[in-house]
């Protein structure tokens, strides 16, 4: 052990294998090209002073989504490698030895859950939720930025593990004692632990932030039961975040102590209890999957109403169902380990609670279907993803109810049936929801719409690719194939794995379509400008602001009188009314301190992984110092004078005068202006 470099040596560089070196090469090249592009466009001032130092929720939201999309590609490459390996590895070693394959399945799960889905939902929520409730920002903008940078620090650690050292082979769940230092010494599991711990602190803070925002920062008249469904799901999600993430912190914290200091929380013998890790991990893990999906359900609620041109059906039921799902999510965690030897009484309790969650989830599906009933459906890409979700997620829900029954789980646990089930709920549920949200709210963020043709192609590739990639895994589960195998000797499995690999390729095409969509949309942005701020004839308050939204969101805070507040304002004719007077608006100043804390978090994680103790202590001091500096700063806001607000708003009204009142009017399925109608 070196005092200066800890356990970091020249051997930590990935020159021991071609695959490792390629992965490292791609990562380093990716980082360098980002730097090159920014330099080429002379955009360093913009990036540093307008974005990295920003604590505006909208910019933070966009940066979160950028992290998510980058990590989606990294996680997908992992998936493509696994699928191609399994397609060829019948009675053969394939091209990925276990040491690589095992890192890949671990990083695939870790990235997709912690560094793709979590940032994606945090990003969409950050961008939209404050606008939906008529607020100017979240309750704690500075802490919001810290959350972003801590999440990025975690993602950074996972990426760095490709270049320096190795990643964990213990799966995204990291079960001990395999993940303990007796069986897996080295830096891999430590990379995983610190990436998860550091970003988990960010997520806990995010939950607190969103919860206080929704409870305390709503516009006048925006009562809880006038909130849009997306905000309701965010509310419950935030409660889950605050109450669930501590359990992950404890589980991973204890594993860090076992590995780094030689404690015996989860070791074989010496008083260790590995089952405790599993309980602590899944006590977080089950609410986590609801954290992932509830905001997506919220997106679907918004999209299905807007693109059926009809009010969301069953608002109260949907709210109650969301609350029920949130509450029940804490009562089911044992279903992840029915086979650990618990008694029939325990297993049947948790199995029953798990099947009960199917009820509110089913209610939601029916309420969305009934929103479509007697509507006028417009098949734009967000709606396509929603329809794909409704049909496909149902199958995943079915396989979930099957697995909820302990005797069935005894057969299926740890087989590809399980893998098929959770992808069947995560991809159509979580991912389609956030892709739909991305396409739905893109104009709000950037002021122009995404190309619909490429969006539609992307959808078809995703859904066809999904079915091809995952339905065979159900069959393989029936054939007895376990998960996480890098080679096998049962011939009957191979045809299904080949089909699955083809499905993965088609999903790849779907991702390519999304990338092309973005490039084409930026190129053609002047033909697709969103001039009104309301490109879809929307129903909730985020569509009242300009696109892109002004820094202060609303020049004058709206007075809310009804559910679907914006639709109601359009019907009453007050939608684009010029206010009588403007006031000064106070907003938080930009600051680099949050990024410094995130950067120090990243270096701290790296130092702890490599046992570079002096560096770790230094980083803690930097973080403490940064917090103290910020906590002593009583002048962290700036004022936009009323005259400047007026100038911005006048420019917006001028633009409105040139724009069609309803940008959807050109669509053949358009149902007409919002008109006051009698009750129905």
């Amino acid at each position: 052990m070196d005092i200066i470099f800890g356990r970091l040596t020249i051997d930590s560089l990935p020159f021991y294998s071609l695959i490792a070196a390629s992965g490292a090469g791609v990562t380093v090249l990716g980082a360098l090209s980002v730097v090159a592009v920014i330099t080429y466009f002379g955009a360093w001032r913009l990036v540093l002073f307008d974005w990295i130092s920003s604590i505006d929720h909208k910019k933070i939201g966009i940066m979160y989504i950028m992290v998510a999309l980058v990590m989606l590609m990294r996680g997908f490459i992992d998936a493509a490698m696994m699928r191609s390996q399994q397609a060829i590895a019948f009675n053969s070693d394939g091209y990925l030895p276990p040491s690589h394959f095992d890192q890949i399945f671990t990083s695939h799960g870790t990235i997709m859950i912690f560094f793709m889905a979590m940032p994606f939902l945090s990003g969409l929520i950050n961008l939209i939720m404050p606008q939906q409730i008529g607020s100017r920002d979240v309750a704690f903008p500075f802490m919001n930025a810290i959350s972003l940078w801590l999440t990025t620090a975690g993602a950074g650690l996972v990426l760095v593990s490709l270049v320096i050292g190795k990643f964990s082979t213990a799966g995204w769940t990291g079960y001990p004692p395999y993940s303990g230092s007796e069986f897996t010494p080295g830096v891999g599991v430590d990379y995983w632990l610190w990436a998860v711990l550091i970003s988990g602190i960010g997520s806990t803070m995010t939950g607190i932030n969103f919860l206080v925002t929704i409870i305390k920062c709503r516009a006048p008249g925006m009562t809880m039961f006038r909130l849009p469904l997306f905000t309701w799901t965010v509310f419950v999600t935030a409660i889950l975040m605050v109450f669930a993430f501590p359990s992950l912190t404890v589980a991973c914290g204890m594993l860090v102590l076992d590995r780094t200091v030689g404690m015996h929380f989860f070791t074989n013998g010496m008083g260790g209890n590995m089952m405790n890790y599993i309980n602590l991990f899944w006590l977080w893990g089950h609410p986590e999957v609801y954290i992932l999906i509830l905001p997506a359900f919220g997106v679907f609620s918004e999209v299905v109403a807007v693109f059926s041109q009809k009010r969301l059906f069953g608002y109260i039921s949907l709210v109650l169902a969301t609350m029920a799902i949130g509450f029940l999510s804490f009562t089911v965690w044992l279903h992840h380990f029915f086979t650990m030897g618990s008694s029939a009484r325990v297993n049947s309790f948790f199995g029953t609670m798990t099947t009960i969650i199917a009820v509110p989830t089913g209610v939601k599906v029916f309420d969305w279907l009934f929103t479509m009933y007697r509507g006028r459906i417009i098949f734009k890409p967000p709606m396509l993803f929603t329809l794909g979700f409704l049909v496909t997620f149902t199958i995943g829900g079915l396989s979930g109810v099957l697995l909820a029954m302990p005797p069935v789980d005894y057969l299926m646990h740890n087989t590809t049936f399980l893998v098929a089930h959770f992808h069947n709920v995560i991809i159509p549920g979580v991912l389609f929801g956030y892709i739909a949200g991305y396409m739905f709210w893109f104009p709000k963020a950037f002021g122009f719409k995404l190309n619909e043709k490429w969006g539609t192609w992307s959808f078809w590739c995703w859904i066809i690719g999904f079915y091809l990639a995952f339905m065979p895994l159900y069959v393989l589960g029936f054939l007895g194939m376990p998960r996480r195998m890098e080679h096998y000797d049962i011939a009957a499995w191979q045809p299904h794995l080949i089909v699955a690999a083809i499905g993965a390729f088609i999903i790849f095409l779907g991702i390519v379509c999304m990338a092309v969509q973005l490039v084409v949309s930026i190129r053609d942005r002047n033909e697709a400008l969103d001039l009104t701020g309301d490109p879809w004839n929307g129903r909730s308050l985020e569509w009242a602001t300009s696109s892109p939204t002004a820094a202060y969101n609303f020049a004058v805070l709206p007075q809310v009188q009804s559910i679907d507040a914006w639709w109601d304002m359009k019907q009453r004719g007050v939608a684009y009314k010029r206010p009588d007077a403007y006031e000064d608006i106070t907003l938080p100043k930009n600051t680099f301190i949050s990024a410094v804390i995130g950067g120090a978090g990243f270096v701290f994680g790296f130092a702890m992984i490599w046992y570079i103790w002096w560096l770790a202590i230094l980083c803690l001091a930097v973080i403490a110092g940064a917090v103290i500096v910020r906590a002593s700063d009583d002048d962290s806001d700036y004022v936009i004078p009323a005259s400047e607000v007026k100038a911005i708003e006048d420019a917006r009204f001028a633009q409105l005068a040139k724009a069609p009142k309803n940008e959807m009017a050109d669509d053949p399925g358009f149902a007409g202006q919002p008109v006051a109608e009698g009750s129905a």
């Binding site: 897996t184 009484r345 049947s348 279907l369 069935v408 005894y410 646990h413 998960r483």
Partner: protein, 278 residues
Amino acid sequence: MIDGPVLDPKGPIALAERDLLFKAIAIMMIVIIPVFIMAALFMWRYRGTNRGARYTPNLAYYWPVEILVWGVPAAIIIWLGIHLWHNTYKLDPYNTLDPSVKSLQVEVIAQDWKWLFVYPEQDIAVVNELVFPAGQPLSLKITSDTVMNSLVIPALGGQIYAMAGMQTRLNLLANEPGKFWGRNVQYSGAGFANQQFRAVATTKEEFDAWVEKAKQSSGTLDASTYEKLSKPSQKVPVTHYSGVEPNLFDSIIAKYIHGDVDRMPSAAHAETAAEPAE
């Protein structure tokens, strides 16, 4: 080798588990099929360009629908719940099958990356092969001398983790003689993909003959042989041992406990066949 173990079970446990699976799928169809039909119907009929369909943009509530969408799934879940509860007790891996018949006791020790089967009553041990008479209940006591493993023989059903310092149980039965495979399904490291064993159900006579042959093996599983065996290795060929170190299984568990109070699942289980009074 069987290639469709779940759909073509060879034992009553697996059969019951499969039947529960099918029954649950059938019951769930009451909810699933309407969802598919409604989705397809509504997508077609209420597409925006179809001006013929009725358009009620403010229809946001209708209490008969609420009662239906809460009530029907709730009723189905209650129905499923009854099946779930009943079958979880019936198919508890710890249940002795048929207490009137003497079961064959086998002690299982998971190692990296192989399985060791000890037959305490016959005083033999085998690596990577589990032979037992068809029609006689097989009672497995399981532990691990390494990381967490999970034992499953898909054709016979059931699955249970193997954990160091702890003992779990799995009771299985094969209806007829046949050859199956079993394996570890809890990822345990580089040799995980190879951690498979042969499970063979034989006639009573074949079993007795196999035991006799094993007793002729030159090797015995004494402490030092066990020590060598437990080192990490992959694709270990089937090896028989005549004579086993006394109390080997218990000593492997004791190795990890240091005399601490027993806190393990075995304490939570009554090792009987009867269903608890309901």
